[in-house]
């Protein structure tokens, strides 16, 4: 997985190298729409594994250097069962200790402001806020399989124009979940949780109630009507 990830990003980086020779897009009083995908790496304390992301955003440029808009992102991943005590399943004369993970989708959405610098690379700074919705496997979740929270988003990126209407965008951002609750991701019922050998259990203090997650997206950008 890591190799494919790196290869993909390296290819996109090469595309950027080619694209920077084009002129910047004409966006003022227009929307820039970006659709793409990428990779979302969640903080270890979140107990969520990294996963692929599809993303989209629409930014309306008030001035050449300032835009506002909406963004959304959907990540396909799974819980990091190793962050929780293994399940202890007892049989006649043995007990099997098993790490239990479960599929997990996280949908993030919100609004942002975009500070754009000039030039052919079009570096920008994104500041946003919104929410997230976590979708757990309803067959495994011990409680509600849907939960929501608040997200703050801070990112930097480059808008690489290929033509005056189209281009690429690469962005790296930090998604801060201030009210994360990792224990809701633990599907093992009390009676099956390992308490016999607590040394097998990860340190519960390694789980965090507020996490900074790192994301990378690459998108195709279009400025309709420009």
């Amino acid at each position: 997985m890591m190799n494919a990830y790196r290869t993909t990003v390296a290819t996109l980086a090469l595309l950027m190298v080619v694209a920077v020779s084009a002129e910047a897009q004409e966006r003022v009083h227009h929307f820039q729409v970006a659709v793409g995908g990428g990779w979302h790496s969640f903080a270890g304390g979140s107990a969520v594994k990294s996963g692929a992301t599809i993303s989209g955003e629409a930014t309306y440029y008030l001035t050449p250097s300032l835009g506002v808009g909406l963004w959304t992102e959907y990540t396909f991943t799974e819980t990091d069962g190793g962050r929780f005590p293994p399940a202890a399943l007892s049989f006649v004369d043995s007990t099997t200790f098993t790490i239990i993970s479960q599929p997990l989708d996280i949908w993030q959405y919100g609004a942002h402001a975009k500070l754009q610098m000039g030039g052919s690379l079009g570096p920008f700074l994104l500041v946003g806020a919104g929410g997230y919705t976590v979708f757990l496997d309803p067959q495994q979740a011990s409680g509600s399989d849907v939960s929501t929270g608040f997200v703050l988003r801070l990112g930097v990126g480059l808008d690489l124009a290929v033509t005056d209407r189209a281009g690429f965008q690469i962005a790296v951002f930090d998604a801060f979940f201030p009210d994360w609750s990792p224990n809701r991701l633990y599907p093992v019922r009390d009676q099956f949780q390992n308490t016999r050998f607590p040394e097998l259990n990860p340190d519960p203090d390694d789980l965090d109630d507020s996490v900074h997650n790192l994301g990378l997206t690459v998108a195709i950008t279009v400025v309709p009507g420009a």
Partner: protein
């Protein structure tokens, strides 16, 4: 390459390198558990042989303090109209059971005097209802074996309605109390005209009709053999026209009991009148009557009182004059009767599974009366009893046991114990004589066995694991008439509340858990354990095949805090110890640190140990688990 181009390439390379650094820095720090997926484990459950440690007690003797014959039915002997009518006889048919009701001259002093002091009932004596003889509707059968009569003598059998004249004290009451009768009461034939079949032989060959207003009702005669024995087999029958005896052939129970049975009710002074042809006595008279004079004039040999006595007006107004005429009652029977007031003056108790206590600690017996607040040392005679086993010479199995008193200590209320595994029991016998002057066992209601490290105190210690109640004073400690007694029973185990015995906590032996081995670590999780009695603690043991045991480190609460539960009997730890139990507990040992090999052991035990007890494995094993075979015989030398 121009300067602009150089800057452009530097920017491109920087972009790619920065992106790479971002990727390399992505966290992938999930904890990697490398333990084996499957570890040996076992259920740790309540031992199938577990029973709370119990002893047995007995009220050895009661003292009758007073008997009030003026109490209605003071002896409590009322049986009701059908009290003697049942199928509990040698034949299994519904019948009046008469065997226990017969009296002779030595057991019934009333007049007419019974001349024969030895006459007795043989193997059976019943008056069977129609299903018994099987002759049809209305046919009854008096079938009775009598012994020790005069040899080769003829006797007449008759049913009589007697009225009683009481001379002085009621004879029935005097005899029940074991007193001598100096002025016997008189039984007088009351009402009716003598009749029946005086010349019929009672050998199941003649049926004698029941008739109204016949009294005595002569059923026939029998002859004794050379040894004075005879069998009465009379068949009285009632017809639909003129008799009221129960006539149903199919149903074993009569309808309309009050007026359809041969013998009157036995309900006492508040009962109903006795009307002929219901009678209250069956009498055996020496001689044979004639049709004109059916009742012979010979001496009366034997008498059965089956219904209650009536006065000469025919009313059941004489208190305590119930059937049968009583034999002397035991002290226990008199004390238990409504008119009796008494108390125990001697009790004994045998305790089992008392582990040996260490140092100065002892078991102390105390007599307690929660209703009066009295608590005194139960001073008596202590016996240490060894159980001797007799074994089969071939199989070696124990085929019998015998108790042997190996130590006796007089005037003590304490002893050091020694558990049953060593073959010991501990008996203490307390009587009024062994208590302090002026005290009596009967002033108390409970006995408690305490555990104390400070013997000789003025009050029992808080550790009171064994107790029993031998008297219920019904809330009236000053009134012995309403007391009731537990003459025998078993001791309880738990926490005895000396102020409110009803609030005493019985040890339940609940809970369980699961244990497992991981390398050189044994860990057992326990849940919902019953709370140890005060003075006791749970201890885990690994037991070898030869019975020797390794004591595990002290029991704790669950990790990570691992709070010690050694004092769970008295400590209150929120969320962990409730008034009745321990919610979670853990036993854990590291073999290397303990210097043991798990493969040596076969069993894991949880026992209740007296804190003041010796360090050895005690006898109150509550939970047991088996060491998995994978630990005993590791396939690769160890997990």
């Amino acid at each position: 390459m121009t300067q602009h181009a150089v800057r452009q390439w530097i920017g491109r390379v920087g972009l790619v390198a920065g992106t790479g650094l971002v990727l390399v820095g992505c966290p992938e720090d999930a904890i990697d558990i490398t333990e084996p997926a499957s570890l040996p484990s076992f259920d740790f459950s309540v031992a199938s042989s577990f029973v709370p440690p119990t002893g047995s007690f007995a009220v050895e003797r009661l003292t009758l303090a007073e008997f009030d014959t003026t109490v209605t039915e003071a002896f409590g002997r009322a049986t009701g109209a059908l009290g003697f009518f049942n199928a509990d006889n040698a034949f299994g048919y519904p019948a009046y059971g008469l065997a226990g009701l017969a009296r002779n001259g030595s057991t019934d002093p009333r007049l007419p005097a019974l001349a024969d002091d030895d006459a007795a009932i043989g193997a059976f004596c019943v008056l069977g209802s129609p299903p018994f003889p099987g002759l049809g509707e209305g046919f009854w059968d008096l079938y009775c074996q009598v012994t020790n009569l005069n040899p080769n003598t003829r006797y007449t059998v008759m049913m009589v309605r007697y009225g009683l004249t009481v001379n002085g004290e009621l004879d029935a009451a005097a005899v029940a109390l074991g007193e001598t009768v100096s002025d016997p009461d008189d039984l007088t034939v009351l009402g009716g005209t003598p009749g029946g079949a005086p010349t019929a032989e009672c050998n199941f060959s003649v049926a004698v009709p029941v008739a109204r207003d016949v009294n005595p009702f002569v059923l026939g005669f029998v002859d004794t053999d050379i040894d004075g024995n005879t069998t009465i087999d009379c068949v009285p029958y009632s017809t639909a026209a003129d008799a009221t005896w129960w006539r149903n052939f199919d149903s074993p129970l009569p309808d309309g009991v009050e007026d359809s049975i041969p013998f009157g009710p036995n309900t006492g002074a508040d009962g109903i009148d006795l009307s002929i042809p219901s009678y209250n006595y069956l009498v055996l008279v020496e001689g044979e009557g004639t049709p004109g004079d059916p009742v012979p004039t010979g001496p009366h040999a034997m008498r059965w009182q089956v219904g209650n006595d009536i006065d000469l007006s025919g009313n059941p107004s004489i208190n305590n004059a119930l059937a049968p005429f009583p034999l002397p009652l035991s002290t226990a029977e008199l004390v238990a009767a409504p008119g009796g007031a008494g108390r125990p003056d001697s009790i004994s108790v045998i305790f089992n599974q008392l582990e040996a206590l260490a140092g100065a600690a002892v078991y102390e017996a105390w007599l307690v009366n929660p209703e009066t607040g009295s608590m005194v040392p139960a001073v008596g005679t202590y016996n240490r009893i060894k159980i001797l086993a007799e074994r089969d010479p071939i199989t070696g199995d124990i085929i019998a046991t015998r108790d042997s008193v190996v130590e006796t200590v007089a005037s003590t209320n304490s002893f050091a114990g020694g558990d049953e595994e060593d073959g010991y029991r501990h008996e203490i016998m307390i009587s009024d004589n062994s208590l302090a002057a002026g005290d009596t066992v009967g002033f108390h209601t409970h006995l408690a066995l305490t555990v104390t490290s400070s013997p000789g105190g003025s009050a029992p210690s808080d550790a009171r694991p064994f107790w029993f109640q031998f008297t219920d004073q019904n809330g009236t400690p000053d009134n012995f008439f309403d007391d009731s007694f537990n003459n025998t029973g078993t001791t309880s185990f738990g926490n005895f509340d000396v102020d409110e015995p009803a609030l005493s906590l019985i040890y339940g032996g609940d809970g369980g858990g699961r244990g497992g081995f991981r390398g050189d670590v044994l860990s057992v999780n326990l849940e919902s354990l019953s709370r140890p009695p005060i003075g006791y603690s749970y201890v885990g043991w690994l037991v070898r095949e030869d019975g020797t045991a390794f004591r595990l480190p002290d029991i704790t609460g669950p990790p990570p805090d691992r709070v010690s539960l050694v004092d769970a009997d008295v400590d209150a730890i929120a969320g962990l110890i409730t008034p009745t139990g321990i919610l979670e507990a853990n036993l854990r040992v590291v073999a290397d640190e303990a210097g043991i090999e798990f493969s040596e052991f076969r069993t894991l035990l949880l026992t209740l140990e007296a804190k003041a007890g010796a360090a050895a494995l005690g006898s109150i094993a509550t939970h047991v688990g088996s060491v998995p075979d994978r630990v005993i015989n590791p396939p690769d030398g160890g997990d």
